[in-house]
Amino acid sequence: MDFLTIIQLLDSTVRLATPLLLACLAGLFSERAGIFDIGLEGKMLIAAFFSAAVAAVTGNVWLGLLAGIGSSLVLAALHGVASITFRGNQLISGVAINFLAAGMTVLIAQDWFQQGGRTPSLIGGGRFTPFDLPFAESLSGVPVLGPIYSELLSGHSILVYIAFLAVPATWWVLFRTRFGLRLRAVGENPAAVDTAGVSVVGLRYGAVLICGLLCGIAGAYLATALQAGFVKDMTAGRGFIALAALIFAKWRPWHAMGACLLFGLLQAIALRFQNIELGGITIPVQAMDALPYVLTVVILAGFVGKAIPPRAGGEPYVKER
């Protein structure tokens, strides 16, 4: 493998890790506040559809992004109503949201565009274009560092940079602000937060809506930047890989970035090479597909450093018993 192949592989790792990272940070906010969310997949999917649909109709990708975020927020609010207000089972609510998105996107896509559940291909202003970092062109001639800067770091869509900037932002919000402290507290011991006179319901709705916002950006990235348009079930399990990455990272932002880059790399390798020859042994492509899930199970099993979720996760908060 030569240097340029490695650069290309890492470049596609960054692209593939971006939606995972956004969804993973989305889940981080929700689960740190004590609301389990296995509906990341559904929220990404509906955002992917509405962003592509609005971008296709208006020709403006920014309007598409807004529509995607809006639709994802609607599903996030539904999750909030079911799991916070009506104290329903958060896991079942997540399952319902995934199916709702899978069905509705195809139904509406067929009604609006009659193309078998897809949107028209996005052209021109309907897509996020590559965003060049300063001096990318002129520095590309520099050996080693030049290609790394101009090929690997520069030339992604603006959403990629937003995703990676969201990592320190998430860290700062969760660990350096009053809101973050309360949000983490509500995921560990909501009764204590309630006693301090802070609204448990309000905080949890806040967290769930931030989760919706980030899932919305993730979905929009899939349909308007990574690919040009929506196709049926285009999230293809990414919401669950993000969930796996979240557990792998033990609910911490910087580790989440590491986990998403690792899983992105696995996807990039599986995409580029079919079967890999390693010293006489052939690793089948399916093993690469399954690896993120296997790693997560191993981490969950606690054989390699135990993953302990926020203590109040999954339990509805009842003020008085």
């Binding site: 296995i38 539904l78 109503v81 079911a82 799991s83 009506f86 104290r87 329903g88 089972n89 958060q90 896991l91 079942i92 609510s93 399952v95 319902a96 949201i97 995934n98 199916f99 709702l100 899978a102 069905g103 509705m104 195809v106 139904l107 509406i108 067929q110 009604d111 009659q114 559940g117 399990g237 669950f240 969930l243 796996a244 557990i247 089948p284 399916q286 093993a287 597909d289 399954a290 899930y293 296997v294 997560t296 199970v297 969950l300 099993a301 606690g302 979720p309």
Partner: protein, 364 residues
């Protein structure tokens, strides 16, 4: 004192949830410019109007009975088995191996061992998440989701690299031998003079599914093991205090659950396709969640809910054939049923409880 009579909990709440889901689905159909009344008529005609329609409805219902029971029995132990899909996939592998590797003299013998193979593979696939939950406290929902994806990868590998006949491009096994062909309802009913459609896929596994419903009912409400499972589901500290081993009970409940999900393969792999293809389960593992919620985790409820979903599935296929409504409408209905009977249960329950309380006060 209960806030509500039992019949309200068992019948009224699921019924109201179902009506809410149906009303919203009607709105969705209106929204895409079709007529909901005509759609329902078409669905009823297509799914129940002929023995051909019934044959498909019952075929789907058979799948959903197995996966619904799998979710239900885990739910009795307080576990949410979302891995029915993966367990059913592995069950398919078990059926395929049994049917392909051993020359069976007669389908009855093959059926027994295929069901055993399917159950064994399904149970094995549930065993690791069960063990991790019981011993290491790893959340079973997350591990079973992960195992669904791992199952898909395993099946893909086995079909592409190991079981695919030489020269075939299709990632599927070769056809099972003629001797393991399961009699369809047509072949079963013809000798007693009942005409049933020849081309519908419903087959003898329907009887196996009904038997499984009966078995689960007996197990849950008529055996000590069932009592232990229910105790654990109600309260783990309570069960532990009564001397019930939570590790043992979790393992057994999940193994039975996985075996039931796996046994679905007798219907779809052995009864219908007669070979193992990729994505043979077609999401039936997930529909089991809706079926179990709708049927209130009771085997008879699961039986009825499975037939309801079988009807929706066949009706939905007819809709997709004759109107511009895509099949995905069924996925939306399924989502709404899960939402209302599962996550938004309290939204229906709380006002009802208030009404019943007010009525009781009026009587005293």
């Amino acid at each position: 004192m209960d806030k509500m009579p039992k019949w309200a909990d068992v019948v009224l709440i699921p019924l109201i949830s179902l009506i809410l889901a149906a009303l919203l689905s009607a709105l969705v159909i209106l929204g895409i410019g079709e007529d909901p009344v005509a759609a329902v008529k078409l669905m009823v005609d297509g799914a129940l109007g002929s023995t051909y329609g019934w044959g498909y409805t019952l075929y789907y219902a058979t799948n959903f009975m197995f996966t619904g029971l799998a979710v239900a029995i885990a739910a009795h132990a307080g576990l949410f088995n979302i891995g029915g899909e993966g367990q059913a996939m592995l069950g398919g592998l078990g059926v395929a191996l049994v049917c392909l590797l051993i020359p069976w003299p007669h389908w009855t013998l093959a059926l027994v061992f295929a069901a055993l193979g399917a159950g064994l593979f399904g149970a094995a696939w549930a065993a690791i998440p069960a063990y991790l939950q019981a011993k290491r406290g790893s959340h079973i929902v997350i591990t079973t989701i992960m195992f669904n994806f791992i199952a898909a990868a395993v099946l893909n590998y086995v079909l592409v690299n190991l079981l695919r006949p030489e020269g075939s491009m299709d990632p599927a096994t070769e056809r099972f031998p003629e001797a393991v062909h399961l009699p369809s309802l047509h072949e079963l009913l013809a000798p007693i003079g009942i005409e049933f459609s020849k081309s519908a896929p419903a087959n003898v596994s329907l009887l196996v599914a009904v038997g499984a419903c009966l078995f689960v009912w007996l197990l849950i409400w008529r055996t000590p093991l069932g009592y232990e499972i229910r105790s654990l589901g109600k309260s783990e500290p309570g069960a532990r205090y009564a001397g019930i081993s939570s590790v043992r009970t979790i393992m057994i409940a999940m193994l039975i659950s996985g075996a039931l999900a796996g046994m679905m393969a007798v219907n779809n792999v052995m009864g219908e396709a007669e070979r193992l293809v990729l994505n043979a389960t077609e999401g039936a593992g997930f529909i089991g969640i809706a079926v179990a919620l709708m049927g209130r985790n009771h085997p008879f409820g699961v039986f009825l809910a499975a037939i309801l979903f079988g009807f929706l599935y066949q009706g939905g296929a007819e809709l997709a054939l004759w109107t511009s409504i895509p099949r995905e409408l069924i996925v939306v209905i399924q989502a709404l049923v899960i939402l209302f009977t599962g996550a938004l249960d309290n939204m229906v329950r709380m006002p009802l409880e208030r009404i019943f309380l007010a009525m009781r006060k009026g009587q005293n």
